[in-house]
């Protein structure tokens, strides 16, 4: 009896410890919520009228017309409002880059060309003013990525090739431990520039240029050989570790690359030119490495290839100046529709932070230029969740999923729609932020 009680206690203790470490269950019991009389857009299926969504212990515990409201639940009457999964900004520098031109406030780019061991989450400031500002417009979780788009000013001029691990986290929490969903969600790699690729603006990333244009073939081949060398070493390292861990000297960079060569962690490939994308796709295919592509309008030129190889694409802000003088004026605006029609899975990302809240606007403009509204909503929710391997936990309103939910005054893609309630991991989260506070403060000035 005593033994079994002890065992039970130990098991319980272990469970509590694991749960606490996982950060899934905060110490205090969570409030249960019931959102009632809402038009619910689950994304996984057609909209449900006059529906109830029950949120319990951070998760969605019931969805449907007439779902039972648990006793003690706080009821939010959402009559006339609409319920959607929280939006997912699939690439940002949130928390890592406070003020673009103030170096001391920017922690995105480390020195050195190959830094697979770096993790974005380490540099994310949970108190960043960007976090509440961005979530007020319905973005509940984001990827923050390090080292995108080559070197920063502080980077000593050296180019970044492998920038580090991108992290997925919720936009609410006192610490990263409370915010994190997946600290290692992808490995950032800036694809080396090819000759004839042109230079120019690296799209929206405020650090600007991707590896500079005008590269020569020999330089490109050298860089690819280096990447291959890193992957080969990681494979050997992995094999050696498996054979006899004690005999292997620990190597943090190789250790970080092991999940990549095992196909567990995708490469997050930043490439702006069609020829770079073709090379990257062929390379990752050959190396049996999973790949997420972060790019702009070059994706349109290679959409069949992307479809064939099932490469998902995170689009740069569609409201970006076109580079080619002869490009159709709406080339960026129709890009999402083109890719979607070709069967490519898409998501949207802001890359930088200063336009992070324009996420739904980009999707909306893409709808104006041919993307279906359904696909646009998926691109903001379930698509990026699936890309980063959390499609079972996030991205739709289904029982068992993390309760990242927005309650809006209408179509989330429309410019005057407001987010009335915001749930992150089942917690009713404030939409107050620095901008609203300054507004309220100076509104009072006589």
């Amino acid at each position: 009896m005593r033994t079994s009680r002890k065992k039970l206690f130990l098991a319980l203790f272990a469970f509590v410890m694991v749960a606490a470490l996982a950060g899934a269950f905060p110490a205090e019991a969570q409030q249960t919520y019931a959102i009632t009389h809402a038009k619910v857009f689950p994304i996984s299926g057609p909209p449900i009228l006059d529906a109830t969504v029950v949120i319990r212990d951070g998760k969605i515990s019931a969805v449907g017309k007439g779902a039972a409201i648990p006793s003690g639940a706080k009821v939010i009457d959402a009559k006339g409002l609409e319920v959607y999964p929280g939006m997912f900004n699939a690439v940002t520098e949130l928390g890592m880059n406070e003020i673009g031109q103030v170096d001391a406030s920017v922690d995105t780019h480390e020195l050195g060309e190959y830094n697979p061991q770096l993790v974005a989450a380490t540099a994310v400031n949970p108190a960043s003013a960007h976090i509440p500002v961005t979530r007020a417009d319905g973005v509940t979780h984001v990827i923050a990525a390090p080292g995108m788009g080559g070197g920063r000013g502080g980077g000593g001029g050296a180019q970044v090739i492998i920038g580090g691990q991108a992290s997925l986290f919720n936009l609410a929490g006192w610490t990263m431990d409370e915010m994190k969903i997946k600290t290692s969600a992808a490995m950032v790699i800036n694809w080396p520039a090819l000759p004839g690729g042109g230079g120019g603006r690296g799209g929206a990333a405020p650090q600007g240029a991707a590896p500079a244009g005008g590269a020569n073939r020999a330089e490109y081949d050298r860089q690819i050989a280096e990447i291959t060398e890193w992957l080969e070493r990681a494979r050997h390292y992995s094999a050696a570790m498996q054979a006899n861990k004690a005999a292997v000297e620990r190597d943090l960079k190789l250790e970080a690359l092991v999940p990549v060569v095992k196909g567990e962690l995708p490469f997050f490939v930043v490439a702006n030119q069609a020829n770079q994308i073709r090379e990257a796709v062929a390379y990752c295919d050959k190396q049996k490495v999973r790949m997420i592509l972060a790019t702009g309008n070059a994706a349109g030129e290679v959409k069949e290839l992307l479809k064939e190889k099932s490469i998902p694409v995170i689009l740069r802000p569609v409201l970006t100046l076109l580079r080619g003088e002869d490009d159709p004026y709406d080339q960026n605006l129709t890009l999402a529709a083109q890719l979607s029609a070709a069967g490519v899975k898409i998501a949207f990302g802001s890359f930088g932070n200063e336009f992070a809240r324009r996420l739904s606007q980009w999707a909306g403009v893409s709808v104006a230029f041919g993307l279906s509204h359904d696909e646009a909503m998926k691109a903001l929710t379930i698509n990026p969740a699936e890309m980063f391997g959390v499609g079972k936990e996030l991205g739709t309103i289904e029982v068992g999923k993390m309760a990242n939910i927005i309650v809006t005054t209408g179509d989330p893609l429309e410019l005057n729609t407001e987010v009335r309630y915001l749930f992150i991991r089942g917690q009713l989260t404030s939409t107050d932020n620095r901008h609203r506070q300054l507004y309220e403060e100076y509104r009072k000035r006589q």
């Binding site: 406070e98 003020i99 673009g100 031109q101 103030v102 003013a129 960007h130 500002v133 000013g153 000759p195 004839g196 690729g197 042109g198 230079g199 120019g200 603006r201 405020p206 600007g208 240029a209 500079a212 244009g213 030119q273 409201l319 970006t320 100046l321 076109l322 580079r323 080619g324 003088e325 002869d326 159709p328 004026y329 709406d330 932070n353 200063e354 336009f355 809240r357 324009r358 606007q361 909306g364 403009v365 709808v367 104006a368 230029f369 893609l413 429309e414 410019l415 005057n416 729609t417 407001e418 620095r434 901008h435 609203r436 300054l438 507004y439 100076y442 509104r443 000035r445 006589q446």
Partner: protein, 478 residues
């Protein structure tokens, strides 16, 4: 304005009117549909007309004659021979006016070597074949205030254009619009974010104190210069002989025009203190700041701006790209409006200009402006700021027929420009644009093939050159 400039200005205006006349003759003679050749008449019918100043007309029509709005109402019959545009399901609004643009400029926009570059003039470097003119037209922009960059406390002269794509440079100029001059305060003129190469001296000013000093110094000189000319002109008028005119100063001429109210000051700025500083300096020298541009902290000192009579031309929701943009809030436009400032939303960027209607729409969410108030931010308000509201900015009889036709309410994210019309002439037509693409692609391919044959083995820029490397966020924000 002194005599010499006045003479040159007259010459310029004369030349311009000749050019305009000639162009009208050419244009008229090339209108095949006009048998009589006396007037071009277009009727847009069955559309929702957003007049901006006189409410919204459902199932309305706009009659255009000789490039002007001749009639606005519900039951307008098409005159014989009129071109009829069926606007069923469409929305017609006044052409968008972008109060801060750098399109149609040949080369750089910053004469950054000196702190007072008032002798440089955008008018001299207008580039009518800049593709951004066409792209901004495709976003519904029909007029733009084309500005010098923000590298200098007192920058170059600015000019208002109409986006008459396909016309020569002199025909881009908005006839009769008062020219302006760019001022700039804060991080850009003090070069906070630009790299100084080794051995290169830093340029004065490097602080906001220095920025004020540069402006006061320049106006102190301008006042003296103005006095010299006035004295000379007075003595000359009395018939005094053998007078030597003062030495002409191209740097000070435009500042004298500012003092005389003949040239608008459009000042780039961010933080509240520097806005107040320029108001003080303007009051000291007796001139007006016509608009504060960007003015991201305008909401903090809207009262003082309103009292001075300055307009505010701002961004919708851009922030935190630099220190002086950290207190930028998307409520700025609404808050300044509520405090009595005439406010516009500008682009400062060829791409941003393509969706200024959307940027204006955000003020309904951020600050609760009404639909009409939001529309004003990109139409009649920038027209007022540029002193061209007697010509454009609303749909009213007698105004220029500068109109945009959308397939949805222009404040919806789903609205796509179908046609952009300037002076009654369609300069952008989405259906035609789409229809012409195959032809243009073919032509481009033929040219590429030809070049490839001719220049085999010769190096050159690859495709997709566009703006060169080294462009940074700073170039975007001028």
């Amino acid at each position: 304005m002194n005599l010499t400039t006045q003479k040159n200005y007259r010459k310029f205006v004369l030349g311009l009117s000749i050019a305009v006349m000639a162009a009208v003759v050419i244009a008229v003679s090339s209108w095949p549909s006009q048998a009589q050749g006396n007037s071009e008449v277009t009727l847009i019918k069955n559309a929702t007309i957003l007049t901006v100043t006189k409410g919204t007309i459902q199932n309305g029509s706009v009659l255009i004659r000789n490039g002007k709005i001749a009639e606005v109402g519900t039951n307008i019959q098409a005159p014989a021979g009129a071109t009829v545009i069926d606007g069923t399901g469409m929305f017609v609004m006044p052409g968008i006016i972008d109060c801060h643009s750098h399109i149609a400029v040949d080369g750089g926009v910053n004469e950054g070597s000196i702190s007072v570059s008032s002798m440089a003039n955008i008018l001299d470097v207008l580039n009518p074949v800049d593709i951004d003119i066409y792209r901004d037209l495709a976003g519904g922009v029909t007029s733009a205030n084309v500005l010098h960059g923000s590298a200098n406390a007192i920058g170059g002269q600015t000019t208002v254009i109409k986006l008459r794509w396909g016309q020569p440079a002199e025909k881009l100029v908005f006839e009769g619009a008062l020219p302006g001059i760019k001022f700039a305060l804060g991080e850009n003129p003090k070069r906070s974010n630009s790299t100084v190469l080794p051995g290169q001296p830093r340029r004065y000013p490097a602080t906001r104190m220095g920025v004020e000093d540069v402006i006061r110094q320049a106006f102190t000189e301008a006042v003296e210069y103005k006095k010299k000319w006035e004295n000379y002109n007075r003595r000359k008028a009395t018939g005094e002989l053998n007078l030597i005119p003062p030495r002409r100063d191209l740097r000070l001429d435009p500042l004298v025009e500012v003092l005389e109210g003949k040239r608008y000051v459009h000042s780039h700025c961010y933080v509240a203190d520097e806005i107040l500083m320029l108001i003080r300096v303007a009051n000291e020298f007796g001139f007006k700041v016509r608009t504060f541009q960007h003015v991201l902290e305008g909401y903090k000192v809207a009262k003082e701006m309103a009292a001075h009579g300055a307009g505010g031309s701002t961004f919708s929701d851009w922030w935190a790209y630099k220190l002086e943009a950290y207190d930028a809030i998307p409520y700025n436009a609404a808050l300044m409006t509520q405090k009595g400032v005439i406010v516009s939303i500008n682009s400062d960027d060829a791409e941003e200009a393509q969706h200024l209607n959307q940027e204006a729409a955000k003020t309904m969410k951020y600050g609760g402006l009404s639909h009409d108030e939001a529309l004003k931010l990109v139409t009649i308000n920038p027209a007022k700021q540029l002193g061209i509201d007697n010509r454009v900015g609303s749909i009213e009889v007698g105004k220029d027929a500068d109109l945009v036709i959308y397939n949805h309410d222009p404040l919806s994210v789903y609205a796509v420009v179908q046609k952009s019309i300037i002076d009654g002439k369609v300069y952008f037509d989405r259906q035609k644009d789409i229809a012409n693409r195959a032809e243009i692609a073919k032509e481009k391919q033929a040219l590429l093939d030809k070049e490839r044959q001719a220049g085999a083995g010769r190096g050159g820029r690859g495709p997709g050159g566009g703006r060169g490397p080294g462009d940074s966020i700073q170039d975007r924000e001028e």
